[in-house]
């Protein structure tokens, strides 16, 4: 069998529990680190580090380190820092674009790692198949004693890594956030930006190496980036995003593991697939940024615009009865909006025709007022010909609040009429 499959264990729940717990704890570490990588646009560096730690791990193991042991962590961190140093060196010394440099460096280091592993003497604690897709098969059986209990070594290492990463994140969070969102300002304020970044890269290496036995070098990018990217769609504050990413990572690891058990296949692959499904769900269903939410938002905006245009249209027709006529033909959507406004009570029947109710009139006047104030403001500040004032105002009228109307009124010197000479209706006293 090329890859370790989850069903290898048969049905022993304790063994599966340990394997799943190990997957969950390393997923949590990766999600925490990945949050910062994603907001700093360093996702592909995470991918590169995932590949590039392989030679570091391989050399450490050949020098007598145990998987999950300290020497292996040191080797991986060194390899990660070397990767970034090489990419930045190529960028600075050779003018190589970052993505091209990453493409050169991580493939080369990974290739070196594969050759070392392939050439290693038999019986070495590193399995070529494990490089690509991890291998949970032996994890539950390689145990150490923790207060009298036999706990898998990888779980202990993963938990320690998680605790260290959480502690580091808590201590340096403000520096990380400052650097992530405005590194220039952070540098100016005296934050050691290079050190903060190096710390993040070392943290990436630690999370990667803790996950290495579980997901391998290639799939670690899924644990690093996918939960964090999904969390970014769901949360707007960085610490909330980190928390959501950790939850998504842990849920993905557990569900993915169970799915692998059920379908009798590789756990790391299924974990990546479940994380991908989580991302798709977040992209579609996220309350503010989801595809659904934004589609609904667009429809609601279009509907509000249609209603307001119709109200304003009727208001102008009534105004035109006293002056110049307007020639706007309502669109289909606006005619539907007009039907709704009749039901809604903004229009009332007046014999055979419809006219604005008092409430409809207030709303219409607000729209027309916004429109003409904007025209007045443009006429004053933008130096546009008269016939160019209407189209922008036709759009902006739907987006001006009372406070903005007030400011424009002050700015334009309390004008009573727009540049076309039509009266600007006064602000209605009771706004709905």
């Amino acid at each position: 069998m090329l890859f370790g499959n989850a069903t290898f264990f048969g049905g022993d729940p304790a063994i599966h529990g340990w394997a799943m717990a190990t997957a969950a704890v390393v997923a949590a570490s990766c999600a925490l680190v990945g949050t910062l990588l994603v907001v700093r646009r360093m996702s592909l560096l995470g991918d590169a580090i995932g590949h590039a730690v392989l030679p570091g791990i391989a050399i450490a193991v050949l020098s007598g380190g145990r998987p999950g042991g300290l020497l292996v962590f040191v080797g991986a961190v060194a390899a990660a820092l070397l990767t970034v140093w090489l990419i930045q060196g190529l960028q600075a010394a050779g003018g190589l674009a970052e993505d091209a440099g990453a493409g050169v460096v991580f493939t080369t280091l990974f290739a070196i790692g594969v050759v070392i592993v392939s050439a290693a003497p038999a019986g070495t604690h590193i399995d070529p198949a494990c490089i690509l897709a991890g291998d949970l098969t032996f994890i539950p059986f390689d145990t150490v004693a923790v207060v009298g209990f036999a706990v898998p070594r990888a779980f202990v290492a993963g938990t320690l890594a998680f605790i260290v990463l959480v502690a580091a994140a808590v201590v340096t969070w403000k520096l990380q956030v400052f650097t992530a969102f405005d590194s220039a300002a952070a540098r100016a304020a005296g934050v050691p930006v290079a050190t903060v970044t190096a710390g993040l890269l070392a943290a990436t290496a630690v999370a990667t190496v803790a996950s290495f036995d579980v997901v391998g070098a290639v799939l670690v990018v899924a644990l690093l980036v996918v939960p964090a990217a999904a969390a970014e769609l769901l949360a707007h504050r960085l610490h909330v995003m980190a928390l959501v990413a950790i939850i998504l990572g842990v849920v993905g690891a557990c569900v993915g593991y169970l799915a692998a058990w059920h379908f009798n296949t590789n756990a790391a692959g299924m974990i990546a697939v479940v994380l991908g499904l989580e991302y798709i769900a977040a992209a579609i269903l996220a309350p503010d940024d989801g595809v659904f939410a934004r589609a609904i938002g667009r429809v609601r905006l279009a509907w509000r615009v249609a209603c307001e245009d119709r109200l304003a249209g009727v208001w102008r027709e009534e105004e035109a009865a006293r002056g110049r006529p307007t020639g706007a033909t309502p669109t289909l959507l606006e005619r539907c909006a007009a039907e709704w406004l009749r039901i809604d009570g903004s229009f009332v029947r007046d014999g055979v025709t419809w006219r604005l109710s008092p409430r409809g009139r207030r709303e219409a006047e607000t729209v027309v007022r916004s429109h003409r104030l904007w025209e007045a403001w443009l006429g004053r500040h933008a130096d546009l010909p008269l016939d160019h004032l209407h189209p922008p105002a036709e759009w902006v009228e739907h987006h001006l609040g009372a406070a903005m109307r007030r400011r424009i009124e002050v700015e334009t010197g309390w004008r009573q009429s727009d540049p076309h000479g039509r009266e600007i209706p006064p602000e209605s006293s009771s706004q709905s």
């Binding site: 069998m1 090329l2 890859f3 499959n5 069903t7 994603v38 646009r41 360093m42 996702s43 592909l44 991918d47 590949h51 010394a93 050779g94 003018g95 190589l96 674009a97 993505d99 091209a100 440099g101 990453a102 493409g103 050169v104 493939t107 080369t108 990974f110 290739a111 594969v114 050759v115 392939s118 050439a119 690509l132 897709a133 290639v218 799939l219 990018v221 899924a222 644990l223 690093l224 980036v225 996918v226 964090a228 990217a229 970014e232 769609l233 379908f263 009798n264 296949t265 590789n266 790391a268 692959g269 299924m270 990546a272 697939v273 994380l275 991908g276 991302y279 992209a283 940024d289 595809v291």
Partner: protein, 290 residues
């Protein structure tokens, strides 16, 4: 029949893989100049799903069937990238990483599931992970050579347009060139070359075939045509070295060897190239400061 100590089959395969290496270098140059170096990586990791899917759907494991599946999956991966870019606020780097991680995970899950789903083993599909030229036949080599020739011909026909878009897409668009179409052709060619490179280099490392030779060639020249030819030759040499060494060293996948050969060429270019090489630049800065 042998030549220079290599069996006939190894020679034929070496010719096929050399053609792929050449075409990948040529096509990759366009991609690197267009600053899309890692697009090929997303396509490459997605191919595994297609290889497994084609095997599951048809039950056949001949190279043509599997590579058609791989190409379909590569295109699907790139389409997923476009969808994420279009419909979410996830940034490009994260979107690429998502496609790489999730599609490769699905591919691994499919390949690993084969034994449990009634297939005797993983059907040799794992050779597409790190490349394994020893398993290729002469007919496969002919197929790869054909694909490589077609890709090279397309690039030579599109040379002027691709040059324009690679160096100044805004100008190209302003003067009425269909930049989107040309971009799509470039990315499509990269997907084709990534798929053609799969049997020799494998999904994980095949991106090196379209990135390293162009970057190395760029150090030697400022002329587009020269760069394409040079990148092609470097890709060719790397591919041949990989095939020959792996034939002599069984148990080692071909992909890493091809990559290491390409990396050696890159290292030499980066240090020793005239004008842009590290030594030349050191010398210039020394003479300037003297």
């Amino acid at each position: 029949m042998t030549f220079a100590g290599l069996p006939y089959n190894t020679l034929v395969v070496a010719v096929g893989v050399a053609a792929v290496g050449f075409a990948a270098g040529v096509v990759g140059s366009l991609c690197v100049l267009r600053k899309r170096s890692l697009v090929g990586d997303a396509a490459a990791h997605a191919t595994l799903v297609g290889v497994a899917g084609a095997f599951l759907a048809t039950g056949r494991r001949d190279l043509a069937t599997l590579l058609v599946g791989a190409l379909a999956a590569a295109v699907a991966g790139l389409a997923a990238l476009l969808l994420v870019r279009r419909f979410t606020r996830t940034r490009d780097d994260a979107a690429t990483a998502i496609v790489i991680g999730v599609s490769f995970g699905l591919g691994i899950a499919l390949v690993s599931g084969l034994p449990a789903w009634g297939y005797a083993d993983s059907a040799g599909l794992e050779q597409f992970l790190l490349g394994h030229t020893a398993a290729l036949t002469a007919a496969d080599a002919v197929l790869l050579t054909g694909v490589a020739c077609v890709a090279t011909i397309v690039v030579s026909l599109l040379f002027k347009e691709a040059t324009l878009v690679a160096f100044d897409a805004a100008f190209a668009a302003a003067t009425g060139w269909p930049v989107l179409v040309i971009d799509a052709v470039i990315v499509g060619l990269v997907a084709v070359m990534v798929v053609a490179g799969l049997p020799a280099v494998g999904a994980v490392l095949v991106t090196a075939l379209v990135v390293i030779p162009p970057v190395a060639a760029r150090a030697w020249t400022d002329r587009m045509g020269t760069m394409l030819l040079l990148a092609g030759m470097m890709g060719l040499v790397a591919a041949v070295v990989g095939v020959v060494v792996s034939a002599a060293w069984p148990g080692l996948a071909t992909g890493p060897l091809v990559v290491l050969a390409a990396a050696a060429i890159f290292g030499i270019s980066f240090v020793a190239a005239p004008e842009r090489g590290w030594i030349a630049r050191r010398l210039r800065s020394v003479t300037r400061n003297a």
